[in-house]
Amino acid sequence: MTSYRLQGRGRVDHGKPVNFTFDGKTYQGLAGDTLASALLANGVHLMGRSFKYHRPRGVVSAGSDEPNALMGTRRGPGRFEPNTRATIQEIREGLEAASQNRWPSLAFDMGAINDNLGSLFSAGFYYKTFMWPRAFWDRVYEPVIRNAAGLGVSPTEPDADSYASRFAHVDVLVVGAGPAGLAAALAAGRSGASVMLVDENAEVGGTLLSEPTVVIDGQPAWDWLAATVAELDGLANVQVMPRTTAIGYYHQNLVGLAQRLTDHLAAPPEGAPRERMWKVRAKEVVLAQGALEKPLVFDGNDRPGVMLASAAQTYLNRYGVKVGDRPAIVTAHDSAWHAAFDLAGAGAKPVVIVDMRASVDPALTDRAHALGIEALLGRTVTGTAGRLRVTSLRVNRMEGGKAGEPRDIGCDAVLMCGGWTPCLHLFSHTQGKLAWDEALQVYLPGRKTEAVQIAGAGRGLWSIAASLGDGANAGAAAARDVGLEAEAPVFGVAADRTGSGITLKELPTDRDPAKAKAFIDFQNDVTAKDIRLAVREGMRSIEHVKRYTTNGMATDQGKMSNINGLMIASDALGKAPPQVGLTTFRPPYSPTTFGTFAGYHQDATFEVTRKTPIDPWAEANGAVFEPVALWRRAWFFPKPGEDMHAAVGRECRGARASVGIFDASTLGKIEVVGPDAVTFMERMYTNPWAKLGVGRCRYGLLLGEDGFIRDDGVIGRIAEDRFHVTTTTGGAARVLNMMEDYLQTEWPDLKVWLTSTTEQWAVVALQGPNARKLLEPFVEGLDISAEAFPHMAVAECTVAGFPARLFRVSFTGELGFEVNVPARHGRALWETLWQAGQQYDICPYGTETMHVLRAEKGYIIVGQDTDGTLTPGDAGLTWAIGKAKPDFVGKRSLTRPDMVAKGRKQLVGLLTEDPKVVLQEGAQIVADPAQPKPMTMIGHVTSSYWSDALGRSIAMAVVVDGRERDGQTLHIPMPGGTITAKVVKSTAFLDPENRRLSA
């Protein structure tokens, strides 16, 4: 073990060494170590490189606010995580960690050249540097930004881990298990309330873990902690959850918790989830998140070896690690003095305590003298030296408010303290107001919006005694608020270390402040002068300063930088801090994996795949599938050696020459039933329904109230009071929602019932000249001859022994039938027709062939050929409007001025000059290809296919005043050259007289 590990000290297990690697080198730590404490024990301070300047960086904190020590951690294939906080990640046997943002190595990094180009990367550099010339964007700026953006690298393999989620309902949720949180949980737990106590650390205890000398109720802090945890564990109504971060506080006391389950285990149980997301609905919430220590802002405050004083104290007392042999302490608050005293007591030789204040409590200076530590009051710090580790500190006397004579003091660590910030992130999530406290120079919780109590250091109470008492009161109050009798326990505390301090902006310097690299946001490399520059350049709002400088926008969300940034911005603006305001904290409190948010919603449970009853047949018969809405549909059925083009051509020929069979089960279906069904249909759809006879079908067109096409489909009248409505595959739920809306809220007097029947019916379409010959022998109870059962007829009958609704409809232009049978019979019906169809060379076809066949007839697909801005007139569907009807949804909009104005885009056909060229769907259309760029686009291609039947390409397009352009030549500029095409007014490319479907 190295000289930095102190035998017998801390809460780590000195009998349990743990091996891990960092940048390929093996190190040894102890069970209970974090990555950071284990590396420090090995004398490693250099743990990362900064984002912008690639400056060498060491660990700054000992908690989740860590901005520098972010690492990639790995546990075999598919288990890599970037930006793991070394201060939170516990070591485990075999853990692999790697530093980030450096090349080729952490100690020698080419990117550090940025550090000397600082002027290029000053505040607003994103906005200034990459402005011009325009041509540089594609070739220079964007690749450079993309290459430099982001810390760490994204995993390249699918995440091999699983994640869990759970809901919970409790009386009292306590966030933070330091003195205040423990006391709150005790008070609430003893009252019988159901309590959840959560803490982001591996172990509960908070500050007590770093302050073992405090005495509570006559017991040393750690004994009291053990007894308290034992009591809480013994209460069946209390659940204590370490390694659990409250990431967000949402409405009505819903708190999201991210619980880490296996990252600390050398060998996780097989199948154990890695993390679990809890959604906790609490009647009362107690926020006991403590306070965050602020760095001091001076040139070189980011050198490895410079860290927060409280972090050094934590490494010492909790992990038994000395961060240096000769630390220098620089502070504006009493608390750092105690860190120095603790280090001295552990055998380190603190070289100096530099306090920015001119006078401090004499007890502190007396103690320093007794320990042989030089104490310098009323000083400023103006620099540090050392390449990969701090070697000295530059301290100046303050003379008349200015930095005077400097003095260099050798050291191997600098422990800084700029005071404390109450941690109110979660409180801010609730839109709780923060109030500036002039005496403490901090923001404290103000007006509350939820049933929440804030306790302890979150309210600016810096001592353990005060936090315990405050927590106890909060816990008892929460329990009383849920109707229980509760008393706040009283604690006797000795050897507490209450302190006070002042809040500063950047420290005065005798050097050129423009050259100072005094960091505020370590992770985003934002310095004090960046903030002042932003203000000089006109930023007035703190939100603008934040975005211009990127202060507080790194993954630590400004936990360390927010208040320092505010103090400097308000000084530059000449305003008091509360007049400048604070930026908004948003969830998550600390970075959370996508896996935790996804939970069980991975792979097949992320989004369902809907399959028809005939899907297994398609799969067994070699179908290639495509997703349509949530459905998976057979796209085409290639034979061996066929590509898509060949397969679709063959399928098209098969259907047109003899008979094709198609699975149309995904069509949306709604049963509209009731005495007022026909009235309802008259009002919903554009078409007239009153005179549609039972046993007849009609193409139905549905508009929104704005007059634009929403959906369409064939609708059959099954009985006087019963309609079988079909919708587009993707539109079924939307159409039913719209129908329900009108029925429930506009016309509640209508006696109509709506039922989604999409999944009740399997639909087998037979299309082609031999469709009737194939089907006829299987139909019972119905004459399906051309005369008895004409195009657009519907009837209930028996097909192949199954009860059926038989439609004579055609979406191909061929003689066609759609057989609806209860879904459970779909597969059997399909197989029967398939077998019998062999004599006709029956051809199964998929959605691509369906698209080609319908396009050859010019039938539109709503959502492909229409886009929510097309009226029936635009789409050439005015024939579908019941002219005599007084009203229907959308009717009034069709006469609004813009709906009848010239210049609307209309659906037309497009035939390319070269019949072999198939246009690209979505391609833009121009009238004059020679016009200067940017060209005026007058429309776009909506559907485009190779038509086997016509031996040429066909396309549909929406074009401004398209129908008036019949015969005109238009141009489609493409990367490979401009394509010319002729407009045809009618989209019916094949058999416009409909002779085939009437056969």
């Binding site: 409405h251 009505q252 506009e746 007084p886 009203d887 009034r892």
Partner: protein
């Protein structure tokens, strides 16, 4: 995630079960053909979009499937009341506690 009281199910249920459906109390005119273009435009598109108390429609779409109305305060995003689609607009002052 809000808890929303469905006035038909008479239960407080998670927001996941519900879908927002626009401003409430905008009845479709009985005879749209009688409306001027401007009146029809207003019916189609013009909404109050208040900062504060908003009357709005919700649907318990993953529950009883009923449409109902709600009063929501849009700044704090809090429901003040929910009521059935056929019930009149409740008095705001009785909900917010200010009798102004």
């Amino acid at each position: 995630m809000l808890l929303i009281h469905c006035p038909y199910c008479e239960q407080d249920l998670p927001e996941l079960e519900f879908a927002y459906a626009g401003e409430a109390h905008i009845a479709r005119p009985a005879d749209p053909s009688k409306l001027t273009d401007e009146e029809w435009r207003d019916f189609l598109f013009i909404r109050t979009n208040p900062k504060g108390v908003h009357f709005e429609r919700w649907r318990h779409v993953n529950g009883c499937a009923r449409f109902f109305n709600a009063v929501r305060e849009t700044v704090g995003d809090k429901f003040l009341a929910t009521y059935r689609a056929d019930e009149p607009r409740p008095d705001i002052s009785s909900l917010t506690g200010d009798a102004k």
